[in-house]
């Protein structure tokens, strides 16, 4: 198979951080993977569905809260808690989809933003359940079959496996017959309707798929941090993941992954050397938007093609 070398290279690249001598970089790698799953999920809406959401933190956040709450407060064991968190959050995304998809464009963006803010407010104020400002903690990573996930490396491998599943399944989805419809609905909703597609339902299903993968990222987030606070539901979290998607290249498979690498690296590595790293993050985004408005992945691809064309001449 001609794709085999590419797949081997990707798997190798995925495993590199696990062999870093310092736990710090292993953990940065894990954070990148979680952010990448989160960004990939939002990309289904933003890049492939043409629906810009400013409330995507809702799914990661609620799923993280649910995971910790179900394990530490309700006494569920890890696997049932994780499954329940994903199922409940996905169901919530269906309800949110019903509400938000009454509009598209700016209206959609505002409804998703408002719903996200409601959850953020709940997390702050519903102290008896969410712990308010203090958040929820006390979650321990499991060690099934003798694998101790409290080790950064073991947890990295878990995150890498989940990321690989997410990436492959999302790649299949966007190349599927449904994915073709989703992109058609993004480009020409009226025409798609005239061709017999149920435009609204296509969008809703994409919304739920995005909610599902966002909640998967949320479970990993909960086990990685073993702590959750209202910060995870804040508008800044939704904006950050949207920036990952847009900076990396919305509507491409690799774009959100590259976006996640850029943002998490800037956040963790650069912040160790530069105090005003948020400003630097802003400057990097401005630079990307000025020089590669379509995002890093399509932008670099364009440069590569231009160079190839110049070489042929």
């Amino acid at each position: 198979m001609r794709r085999a070398p590419l797949i081997v290279a990707c798997v190798a690249l995925l495993l590199v951080p696990a062999f870093s001598p310092s736990d710090f970089y292993v953990n940065v790698g894990t954070q990148i993977l979680i952010a990448a799953i989160f960004a990939l999920s939002l990309n289904l809406l933003v890049g492939y569905g043409g629906l810009i959401s400013l409330g995507h933190a809702a799914y990661l956040g609620v799923s993280a809260y649910l995971t910790i709450w179900l394990v530490t407060r309700a006494g569920l064991s890890h696997l049932p808690a994780a499954i329940a968190a994903v199922a409940l959050t996905t169901a919530m995304s269906a309800v949110f989809g019903l509400l938000s998809l009454r509009a598209t464009g700016l209206g959609f963006l505002m409804i998703t933003l408002a719903l996200g803010q409601i959850l953020w407010g709940l997390a702050y104020r519903w102290v008896s359940v969410t712990g308010g400002d203090n958040g929820l903690s006390g979650l321990r990573r499991p060690h099934p079959f003798g694998i101790d996930f409290s080790s950064p490396r073991a947890f990295y491998f878990l995150a890498a496996a989940v990321f690989a599943c997410a990436f492959v399944l999302i790649a299949v989805l966007v190349r599927s017959t449904f994915g073709a419809g989703l992109q058609g609905v993004r480009d020409q909703p009226r025409r798609m309707q005239a061709l017999g597609w149920h435009v609204w339902l296509v969008r809703l299903l994409a919304f739920v798929a995005a909610g599902f993968w966002g909640s998967v990222a949320g479970v990993l987030y909960a086990y990685y941090n073993q702590f959750v606070s209202p910060h995870v539901l804040a508008l800044t979290s939704s904006a950050e993941v949207l920036l990952m998607v847009i900076a990396g290249g919305a509507g491409t498979l690799l774009g959100p992954v590259v976006g996640a690498v850029v943002v998490v690296m800037l956040k963790n590595v650069v912040s160790a050397y530069v105090t005003r790293w948020v400003m630097l993050l802003g400057l990097v985004f401005v630079a990307i938007m000025v020089f590669m408005p379509e995002g890093l992945v399509p932008g670099l691809d364009r440069l590569r093609r231009r160079r190839l064309a110049a070489g042929e001449r």
């Binding site: 017959t177 020409q188 798609m192 061709l195």
Partner: protein
């Protein structure tokens, strides 16, 4: 006489109090070629939008082969055999011609809901799309992006896309608009090749091509149906000459 393919009864629609379509009634027989004439703003395209369900009617009923579709969702109407083209070409410029047709074929297939069926692993879909393009002489361009084709070719793709769904009633909104003489001929051939079982309703300003195609003509004027009849009857009608032909 065969049953009506499309029947409208007292259909009305206003936008902000301004009537766009006012109490229009039509009966189009199965297999008929009907032309809708009328000056700009007469309500022709609005009438199409009401039939397809793009916009809901304020009043009146619409029947497709005797079935009331007035309250039906637009995609359900497509499933009953209704297809249309738009005045301004509405296609997928980034995709190839073949992909454009595939989207039309998928629109009527249950496969469209599958998130795990790779489009590239469905050779039969591509074969059907190529066959559709072959019929309009565009098979060689199947893998070109639509944006890389001429306006006339895009118009043919749009009609081919509607025909790919094997509709029973086809609504054509100004299929000759903006075409060169040569392109016009191509589209004319394409329309002449539409099987007789398909009912065709066409809006067109170019009377030369439109009159040679249509069997019956409905003239709309100021949101209302003014005259309906055969070619000769309509052309001879003094009211039509006044409002439309400017005589």
């Amino acid at each position: 006489m065969s049953a009506d393919a499309l029947r409208l009864s007292g259909v009305s629609k206003s936008f902000g109090g301004v009537p766009a379509v006012r109490g229009v009634s039509l009966a189009i027989a199965e297999g008929e070629r009907r032309l809708l004439l009328g000056p700009n703003g007469a309500g022709k395209t609005t009438l199409f939008n009401l039939v397809t369900g793009d916009i809901p009617a304020d009043a009146g009923g619409i029947w497709l082969f005797g079935r009331d579709i007035s309250k039906m969702r637009p995609d359900h109407r497509v499933r009953l055999g209704l297809a249309r083209t738009y005045q301004v070409i509405t296609l997928f410029p980034r995709n190839t011609l073949a992909h454009n047709i595939e989207l039309a074929l998928l629109g009527l297939s249950p496969l469209r809901w599958s998130p795990v069926t790779l489009l590239s692993r469905r050779p039969e879909l591509r074969e059907r799309a190529l066959a559709v393009l072959d019929r309009v002489g565009l098979r060689a361009a199947a893998d070109r992006p639509l944006s890389g084709t001429s306006y006339g070719e895009q118009r043919r793709v749009e009609i081919a896309m509607a025909l790919a769904q094997e509709p029973r009633v086809l609504l054509l909104d100004e299929p000759f608009a903006g075409l060169s003489q040569e392109e016009r001929r191509d589209v004319q051939h394409q329309l002449a090749a539409i099987p007789r079982r398909v009912t065709v309703v066409m809006i067109e300003h170019d009377l030369d091509v439109a009159l040679s195609f249509a069997e019956r003509i409905t003239v709309l004027h100021q949101a209302q149906s003014l005259v309906e009849g055969s070619r000769a009857e309509v052309v001879a009608d003094t009211r039509v000459q006044e409002v439309y032909l400017g005589a």
